[in-house]
């Protein structure tokens, strides 16, 4: 209960910050009165607050779900402290304004995430967690080395100051390479995605939801900040590389998702594929592409969390998550299946949904500058997503050969409605994008893009 109240309080605080942002524009705050460079400063602009609100929404949904999920298990002791610690890390990351602080928050998030994965206690979870930990630490160290090089070259770790002082030099190239490499590892961009499916699939369900929805987005957010605020003056353009990797991620991830026989693995590979979409705007020339990318982050977070929670319900109800045997279960969990389908609609990018708006914006950006390949990749990606979503949904309608009448563990209502609420929100995001767009533009975070 305490955990839930903390979750609600955090959510309320995020909304309050949002309202303040609307009134006052971007905000800067020095913690404890200690300004940079020794103290920690917090900076909030439209993008940060959007991320905070996203975490709040998803976090709240998952917290409600987790309240019931862990009621019957022996795991609860570890979940709440770790999750709240992770949330703290996420919020701190979104509000940080210097790159060293970002390292600390990255580690905080990473360590709590690993511990959360390991909570499930079985061998798959433990080995998934171990792999995740090793990758995460490697990535953070690369990032840290980059920070070190930048500090040496420019004498500051503050993002704004770095942006102004930046110039092309071997040190900045090296730092760029290291930091981007580390963050790509953490964001599981192809080909650095190998750690994600085992970790996300074998973690306890609320953890899978949080990881796919929020944690991978954190490193992506960092990449964005570096891209827009720190490195533009260094004049290195490798956006095409990121875009290509993103396209490969979409194709590879979707195909792998289709080959899975377990539901949670399918969803995890779907995350790998969908993360690819996030990197396509790097290769597009139009600034509008970024609005699409951020919108994608939002809708994917909601939809993926909903999807994992739905899968968790199925898993709990029947004890397994084999896709071909879903028909005996899915028909007895209609609310769960509805949540899954609605989340699927957003993932496929079908209207009306947040995913559709995101896709529209990115397609618009691509076609305005005649970048056919990217447009085609996104279209094909949508069709592949439809393939793996309907692979699951189809089984919700078929008649099982053997009517499984064993009295299954019934799912508490909260656990069915939480994913439905998040999925519906993903759909609603598709119905008036003006508000989130307006929020995004406060403080002009996406202005630093080099055309």
């Amino acid at each position: 209960m305490l955990g839930l109240s903390a979750a609600i309080a955090t959510a309320i605080a995020s909304v309050a910050l949002y309202l303040q942002l609307l009134d006052n524009g971007p905000l800067r705050y020095a913690v404890g009165g200690w300004g940079a460079p020794l103290g920690i400063e917090l900076y909030a602009d439209g993008l940060s607050v959007l991320m905070l609100l996203m975490s709040a929404l998803v976090g709240l949904g998952v917290s409600l779900y987790a309240l019931r999920y862990f009621k019957h298990d022996a795991q609860p002791a570890g979940f709440w402290p770790l999750w709240l610690m992770m949330w703290t890390g996420l919020n701190a990351l979104f509000l940080a304004s210097d790159i060293f602080n970002l390292y600390v928050t990255l580690e905080l998030i990473g360590l709590s995430a690993v511990a959360l994965v390991a909570l499930a206690g079985n061998r798959h979870a433990l080995s998934g967690a171990m792999r995740y930990l090793l990758v995460s630490l490697l990535a953070s160290l690369c990032y840290l080395l980059g920070v070190v090089l930048l500090y040496h070259a420019f004498g500051t770790v503050d993002i704004q100051l770095l942006g102004m002082a930046m110039k092309a030099s071997p040190a900045s190239y090296a730092a760029l390479g290291l930091m981007v490499g580390g963050l790509l590892l953490k964001s599981a961009l192809f080909p650095f995605h190998f750690w994600l499916p085992p970790a996300h699939a074998s973690a306890p369900t609320p953890v899978s939801a949080l990881l796919s929805a929020l944690v991978v987005k954190a490193s992506f957010y960092l990449l964005l900040r570096l891209w827009f605020d720190v490195f533009p003056a260094a004049n290195v353009d490798f956006g095409w590389l990121l875009g290509t990797l993103g396209a490969l991620a979409i194709l590879w991830g979707s195909v792998q998702a289709l080959r899975q026989s377990r539901l949670k693995m399918l969803i995890a590979y779907s995350t790998v594929a969908q993360l690819g979409y996030l990197f396509i705007p790097f290769a597009l020339l139009s600034p509008q592409a970024w609005q699409g990318g951020i919108y994608f982050v939002l809708s994917h977070a909601l939809a993926k969390a909903a999807m994992f929670m739905a899968a968790g319900n199925i898993l709990k109800f029947s004890g397994h998550d084999r896709i071909t045997d879903l028909d005996r279960i899915a028909q007895r969990l209609p609310i769960t299946m509805t949540a899954f389908c609605l989340a699927g609609v957003s993932l496929m990018g079908l209207p009306p949904s947040g995913g559709f708006i995101a896709k529209w914006l990115m397609l618009d950006a691509a076609l305005t500058h005649q970048q056919w390949m990217w447009a085609l990749v996104m279209i094909v990606g949508g069709l592949l997503a439809a393939a793996y979503v309907f692979k699951v949904v189809g089984y919700a309608f078929t008649k099982a050969d053997v009517q499984d009448n064993k009295p299954a563990e019934s799912i508490p209502a909260l656990m069915e409605w939480a994913p439905l609420a998040l999925a519906v929100t993903a759909i609603l995001l598709g119905l008036n994008a003006n508000y989130p767009m307006a929020l995004l533009s406060i403080g002009n975070p996406l202005a630093g893009v080099s055309p």
């Binding site: 460079p37 020794l38 060293f100 390292y103 600390v104 580690e107 360590l111 690993v114 511990a115 390991a118 079985n122 061998r123 798959h124 433990l126 080995s127 967690a129 171990m130 792999r131 930990l133 090793l134 630490l137 490697l138 160290l141 840290l144 080395l145 920070v147 070190v148 090089l149 500090y151 040496h152 004498g155 770790v157």
Partner: protein, 103 residues
């Protein structure tokens, strides 16, 4: 100054050695140690390159201390995971684990 460059290079060398160890060795304990070495390498670079003027700069020191704390916690977590993994499966590397899982 050349002394700092020397230390910096040593730090980078440690980083690379650690990276090599991380990738090559299969035993998890060795991987963890490799990561620790990489961490030490980074800190070494930080201290070596951190000096920007005649006056001692407190910022790199603060960063290193924070970094050390983080690394210690991370290592602790890693070791606990390793122990649980060994307890549960009897293996101490990920590849054997996977093979076992696929059977």
């Amino acid at each position: 100054m050349s002394q700092e460059i020397l230390y910096a290079l040593a730090g980078v060398g440690l980083f690379v050695l650690g990276l090599h160890g991380l990738i090559v060795y299969a035993h998890l304990l060795r991987k963890i140690l490799a990561l620790n070495i990489m961490g030490s390498g980074v800190f070494l670079v930080l201290i070596a390159l951190g000096r920007r003027s005649a006056v001692a700069d407190p910022v790199p020191d603060a960063m290193v201390i924070t970094g050390i704390v983080v690394t210690v916690s991370a290592t602790a977590l890693a070791l606990v995971l390793l122990l649980r993994l060994k307890e549960m499966t009897g293996h101490t590397d990920l590849e054997q684990n996977d093979r076992h899982h696929e059977q």
